[in-house]
C-alpha cells in the first residue's frame, strides 16, 4: 500500500541526485515559490566539482575575474584548509546576476541540492531582485559583461605595460577598495559597451597638464605659505577615495585610471552585499525552510528527506552563546531567519507586547509585510524596525561598552524593559558600515603648491586607526603621486597625523 503511494507522490526516494531530478525539484520548488509570490530572475544552476568550488571561492564567487596574486593566495588558503579537513566548503555560492548563477556541488545528495535550490535560486535570487539596495546600486543584467570587459582590459594592460606595473596599481586600488563606493550618490548603471567607448575616449584625451617639477620645490617653513588657498579644492570633502583618485590624481596614466575605475566598480557591486548580510541570508534561510516544508506538506518528499533537511537547516541557523568555543559573533543566518519568522508570527499570532511594539504590522497578511521588509531595508534599518523584544529575549542579547583605559567592561543593557530599545540601537549600529569602517575623506589638496593631499579621519568613539594605516597611505600616495597626510580628528581636535612622503616605489 505504502509503495503505491510512494510511486504516486514522492519526487525521489534515494539520496542520489540526477539532472532529471534536479530539474523536477527545481520545477516543484519554483511552483511553490510562485504561489508565495517570490519574484526572481531566471536561474542558471551549474553543477560543479569541489575543485571548481574552490576556484569559485577564490574569485569571490564570480564566474570570471581579472588575474591577481591575491586571488591565488585565497585559493591556496582554501585549498590547504580543505585538504587538511579544517573546513568544509559551502554548499552553494550564488551571485547577483541575471540569469542568477548558482553553483551546486556534485558531492551533495539530493536533499542538499533541493535545499540549495530553494535557498539560492529562490531565496537569494528574489532578494537580489527585490531589495532596494541591489536595485539601485547594481545592475544584475550587466555584471557578467562587465566582468568580461574588466578581465580583458586588465589582460591587455598586462601585455602592454607589464604584469609588474599592473599588479602594483591593482594592489594600491585593492587597499582602498572599501573606500571606493558612493554611499549616497546613486551610481550610473553598468554597461560594458559604454565602458569600452569611454575607455577609448579617455585614451585619446590628452593627459592633464602636470609638471612633476612641483615636487622639487623646497617646502616653506611658514605654515601659511602655499596652504593659503582662496579656493579650496575639493570644494566638499570626498568620501569616495577611488573615485577622487580616478578623476583627479594628476600623474596617473589613462590605463591606470581605468584600473582604478574597474576596482571601484567591483567595490560598488559588492557594497549592497556587505550591507545586507543578515537580511539576505535570513531571507534565503526563511524561504528554503518554508519552501522545502511545503514540499513535504504536499507529500512530495519522504519523512527521511525532511528529517535530514531539518538537521541541516538547524545547523545553518545555530547561534552559539558568547561563551561557547564555537562562538564567532552573531550568525547572520540565525538572526535573519529568526527575524523573518518572527515577523510572520507577529502578523499571525501577535501578543499584547507585539501590539504595542508593532501596531502597523499586527494582523496584516504576513506575506505582504515580509515582502515590504525585504524590499525596503538594509541590515541596520531592518534591525531597528523589526527586532522584537521577544527575539532579544530568545537570543538573550546583552550590550557591552568597553573603554581601553578601563580595566572593566561594562554591561550597558540587557534584554529587559529598560534595555530593549537601547539594545536594539546598539545591535543596529553594529551593522552600520559607517560605524564599522572608519570615516576617511579627502579634505583638501594644495593645488597652488606642492599638490600634497590631506585625508581627514573623523574619529568615531575615539577609536584610532589600525596598524595598516601607514601601509595604506603608501598605496594612496602611489596613486596620487604626491605627498599625502592623514589626520585623525577626535572630539577635541587633531589626535594623530600620519604622513607619507617618500616615494617608496
Amino acid at each position: 500500500m505504502s509503495q503505491a503511494k510512494t510511486k504516486r507522490n514522492f519526487l525521489s526516494t534515494g539520496s542520489d541526485w540526477t539532472f532529471d531530478l534536479i530539474e523536477t525539484y527545481d520545477k516543484e520548488i519554483g511552483k511553490i515559490a510562485a504561489e508565495f509570490g517570490l519574484d526572481t530572475y531566471p536561474n542558471q544552476i551549474e553543477v560543479i566539482s569541489s575543485e571548481q568550488m574552490m576556484d569559485a571561492y577564490a574569485s569571490v564567487g564570480m564566474p570570471l575575474g581579472y588575474h591577481h596574486w591575491s586571488y591565488g593566495k585565497q585559493f591556496l588558503d582554501v585549498e590547504q584548509n580543505y585538504k587538511r579537513g579544517r573546513m568544509g566548503l559551502a554548499y552553494e555560492i550564488v551571485i547577483n546576476s541575471s540569469p542568477c548563477i548558482a553553483y551546486l556541488m556534485e558531492e551533495n545528495n539530493m536533499m542538499m541540492q533541493a535545499l540549495v535550490i530553494a535557498h539560492a535560486c529562490y531565496g537569494h535570487n528574489s532578494f537580489f531582485k527585490g531589495n532596494y539596495l541591489f536595485k539601485t546600486w547594481t545592475d544584475a543584467t550587466a555584471i557578467i559583461d562587465y566582468l568580461v570587459f574588466a578581465k580583458k582590459y586588465v589582460q591587455k594592460c598586462e601585455e602592454k605595460y607589464g604584469i609588474e606595473d599592473v599588479e602594483l596599481t591593482l594592489d594600491s586600488c585593492h587597499a582602498l577598495m572599501n573606500f571606493g563606493v558612493d554611499r549616497y550618490k546613486r551610481p550610473v548603471p553598468l554597461s560594458a559597451e559604454e565602458e569600452k567607448a569611454r575607455v577609448s575616449e579617455r585614451e585619446h584625451q590628452l593627459q592633464q597638464q602636470v609638471n612633476d617639477l612641483w615636487r622639487t620645490i623646497p617646502k616653506s617653513d611658514k605654515p601659511g605659505d602655499g596652504e593659503d588657498i582662496r579656493e579650496s579644492f575639493p570644494s566638499e570633502p570626498q568620501e569616495n577615495l577611488l573615485y577622487f583618485l580616478e578623476k583627479h590624481a594628476p600623474l596617473l596614466k589613462p590605463w591606470q585610471r581605468e584600473l582604478v575605475r574597474i576596482v571601484r566598480k567591483m567595490a560598488q557591486y559588492f557594497y549592497p552585499q556587505r550591507q545586507t548580510q543578515v537580511m539576505n541570508e535570513g531571507w534565503a534561510s526563511f524561504w528554503h525552510y518554508t519552501l522545502v516544508n511545503s514540499l513535504y506538506d504536499k507529500g512530495l518528499v519522504e519523512d527521511g528527506f525532511i528529517l535530514e533537511f531539518l538537521q541541516s537547516h538547524t545547523n545553518v541557523v545555530y547561534q552559539p552563546s558568547f561563551d561557547s568555543q564555537f562562538y564567532s559573533g552573531i550568525n547572520p543566518y540565525a538572526l535573519g531567519f529568526a527575524m523573518y519568522t518572527d515577523i510572520k508570527r507577529i502578523c499571525e499570532n501577535p501578543t499584547q507586547e507585539d501590539r504595542e511594539w508593532f501596531p502597523d504590522y499586527v494582523d496584516k497578511p504576513w506575506l505582504e509585510v515580509l515582502d515590504f521588509a525585504m524590499r525596503n531595508f538594509k541590515d541596520e534599518s531592518f534591525i531597528l524596525q523589526f527586532l522584537s523584544p521577544k527575539l532579544m529575549r530568545d537570543f538573550r542579547f546583552f550590550g557591552l561598552e568597553n573603554d581601553v583605559l578601563d580595566p572593566f567592561v561594562e554591561v550597558k543593557e540587557i534584554h529587559n524593559d529598560e534595555g530593549y530599545r537601547l539594545l536594539r540601537d546598539r545591535l543596529a549600529q553594529q551593522y552600520n558600515l559607517s560605524y564599522r569602517e572608519p570615516n576617511i575623506q579627502v579634505q583638501k589638496v594644495n593645488i597652488l603648491g606642492d599638490r600634497s593631499l590631506v585625508l581627514k579621519h573623523t574619529m568615531n568613539g575615539d577609536r584610532p586607526l589600525n596598524e595598516d594605516t601607514v601601509e595604506v597611505l603608501k598605496h594612496f600616495r602611489r596613486l596620487w603621486g604626491f605627498d599625502v597626510r592623514l589626520e585623525s580628528w577626535g572630539k577635541d581636535g587633531l589626535v594623530k597625523s600620519y604622513t607619507c612622503t617618500d616615494d617608496s616605489e
Binding site: 542558471q44 544552476i45 588575474h67 591565488g72 588558503d77 564567532s328 557591552l400 581601553v404 553594529q430 586607526l465
Partner: protein, 430 residues
C-alpha cells in the same frame, strides 16, 4: 525558468594563473624555503613537493580599519547572569573580544603563518631554477634503435584494436543518408498521396490506386530498413607510423674515493651531490644511466648500494678510476651516442705522482668525450696535489671541467648551483 548546466567537465584549474602570480610574487620566500629543504631533507625524499611558509605580515593586504583603543561597543547573545551595570574585569591578556571595535565579531585575523604546498614539479623548478647543463648537444645515432609510434592520419585498413569509432560512425551515417535519401523522399510523396486519398469520401476513393500506393510505400520502407547500419566500407582505422627517435640519452658517471680516509659523512655529502645531479639530469634527458665507480688503489664498477655503503681501506690511486671510466665509455657509451656527465668526489688524497697521470688521462681522452666533468673535493684540510693537477685541467678546458671545494653539508646546494649556473657566454656559443 531555470537552466541547468553541468560544468564539471570544464577545467578545474581556473585559479592556476592566479596561483602562478602568487608564487611569482613570493619567489624570495619560496626560494629560501627550497634552499633550506634541499639542505635539511634526507636524500631520498628530495624528490617531492614542499611546504612553504610565509609570515602573515608579509602577505597581509592592508586596508583602513579601526585599531585597538577608544570606546568599543558590541552586542553578544547568550546572556546568563549579567545585568545592566555589571562590570566585568577584562582578561589580563588585553585585547579580548570585548575590546576595541564593533567588528570583533568578524573572524579573527589569525597570527598563523600562511602555509601552502608546492608540487614536486614546482619544487624541482625552484631547485634547478637558472641552472643549465653545459654543452648540451643533440647526439645523433647512426644506428637507430629507438622508435616512437606517431599518429599518421586515418586509413581504411587496419586491425580492430585501432578502429576509429567516431570516424567510422560518421561515415556510416553519411552513407545511410545517401543510400536512403531518394527512397525517403519518394516515400514521403507517396504517404502524402495516401493521406490525400484517405481524406476523400469513401465513394471517391480510388481503391486500386490506394492499394498500389500502399504496396509501393511498403517496398520503400523495406528498402530503407535494409540499408545496413554499419558496413565494412564505413570502417576507418587510426594509422600509426614508426619514427626514429633522436637520441636524448645521458650517462652519468659517479666516481668516488672509498679509501680509508673517506668517512661516512664525507660519503653522505658526496651522495647528496650525486642525487642533485641525477635529478637535474633527469629533467633534461628522458633516459639516464648511472655508472658507479669507486676506487682506492684500484677501481671497480659497483652497484649503488655498494657504492655508498661498503667500507674499504687502503691507499688511493685516482687514475685507476679514470682509466676505468675511459674504458667503460669506449665499451658501452660511445660519445657520439651518449651525453656523458661525470662527477667525481674525493677528499683530495692521492699518490703524489698519480695526480699528474690523472691530469693526462683527463686531458688526453676523457675531456673530449664528456659534456661536463665536475670534481668536488670534500675536505676541511688544505688541498693536495690532485687539486692542483685538476686546476690545470680547469684552466685549459674551462667549459668542460669544473671543480669546487666543499667543507660541510650546507655547501652542497650553493656549490651545485655555482657549478651549473647559466653562463651567458656559453649559451651564445651553443
Amino acid at each position: 525558468m531555470s537552466y541547468i548546466i553541468d560544468r564539471r567537465l570544464n577545467g578545474k584549474h581556473k585559479s592556476s594563473v592566479n596561483r602562478q602570480r602568487f608564487l611569482r610574487r613570493y619567489q624570495k620566500h619560496i626560494k629560501k624555503a627550497v634552499e633550506e629543504a634541499v639542505n635539511e631533507r634526507s636524500i631520498k625524499d628530495l624528490n617531492r613537493g614542499e611546504k612553504i611558509t610565509i609570515p602573515q605580515q608579509d602577505i597581509h593586504e592592508p586596508s583602513f580599519g579601526h585599531g585597538q583603543g577608544g570606546t568599543g561597543s558590541i552586542v553578544h547573545p547568550g546572556n546568563k547572569e549579567f545585568n545592566t551595570g555589571d562590570r566585568i574585569p577584562k582578561p589580563p591578556s588585553g585585547g579580548g573580544q570585548g575590546s576595541g571595535s564593533g567588528d570583533a565579531s568578524d573572524q579573527g585575523e589569525g597570527e598563523d603563518d600562511f602555509v601552502f604546498q608546492i608540487s614536486q614539479e614546482e619544487f624541482l623548478d625552484y631547485v634547478f631554477e637558472d641552472l643549465e647543463l653545459p654543452n648540451l648537444l643533440q647526439k645523433e645515432l647512426k644506428e637507430i634503435k629507438e622508435f616512437s609510434l606517431k599518429h599518421a592520419g586515418i586509413v581504411s585498413d587496419g586491425t580492430p584494436s585501432k578502429l576509429n569509432i567516431v570516424r567510422s560512425m560518421r561515415n556510416a551515417q553519411a552513407r545511410r543518408i545517401v543510400m536512403s535519401r531518394s527512397s525517403k523522399r519518394l516515400l514521403l510523396e507517396i504517404e502524402e498521396q495516401i493521406e490525400e486519398i484517405e481524406k476523400k469520401d469513401a465513394a471517391l476513393k480510388d481503391e486500386s490506386l490506394l492499394k498500389e500506393l500502399l504496396l509501393q510505400a511498403e517496398q520503400l520502407r523495406q528498402k530503407i530498413d535494409k540499408t545496413p547500419f554499419l558496413d565494412s566500407y564505413d570502417l576507418r582505422y587510426n594509422h600509426h607510423v614508426k619514427e626514429p627517435k633522436p637520441s636524448s640519452q645521458a650517462v652519468m658517471f659517479c666516481i668516488m674515493d672509498v679509501s680509508g680516509s673517506m668517512t661516512q659523512e664525507t660519503k653522505n655529502i658526496a651522495k647528496r651531490f650525486y642525487i642533485l645531479l641525477y635529478l637535474f639530469l633527469r629533467r633534461n634527458y628522458e633516459k639516464i644511466e648511472v655508472v658507479f665507480i669507486r676506487h682506492h688503489t684500484s677501481a671497480k664498477e659497483v652497484s649503488e648500494e655498494e657504492f655508498f655503503y661498503s667500507r674499504e681501506t687502503g691507499g688511493t690511486i685516482v687514475s685507476s678510476a679514470l682509466k676505468l671510466m675511459d674504458k667503460i665509455i669506449q665499451d658501452r657509451y660511445p660519445s657520439n651516442a651518449w651525453n656523458i656527465y661525470a662527477a667525481q668526489a674525493s677528499d683530495g688524497d692521492n699518490w703524489d705522482d698519480d695526480s699528474d697521470t690523472c691530469r693526462k688521462i683527463l686531458e688526453e681522452s676523457i675531456i673530449d668525450q664528456v659534456q661536463y666533468f665536475t670534481y668536488i673535493e670534500i675536505t676541511p684540510r688544505n688541498h693536495q696535489s690532485l687539486w692542483y693537477a685538476y686546476e690545470q685541467v680547469q684552466n685549459t678546458h674551462p667549459s668542460y671541467f669544473s671543480m669546487r671545494h666543499i667543507t660541510d653539508l650546507t655547501d652542497i646546494y650553493p656549490v651545485f648551483r655555482d657549478l651549473f649556473q647559466r653562463r651567458l657566454h656559453e649559451s651564445s656559443q651553443n
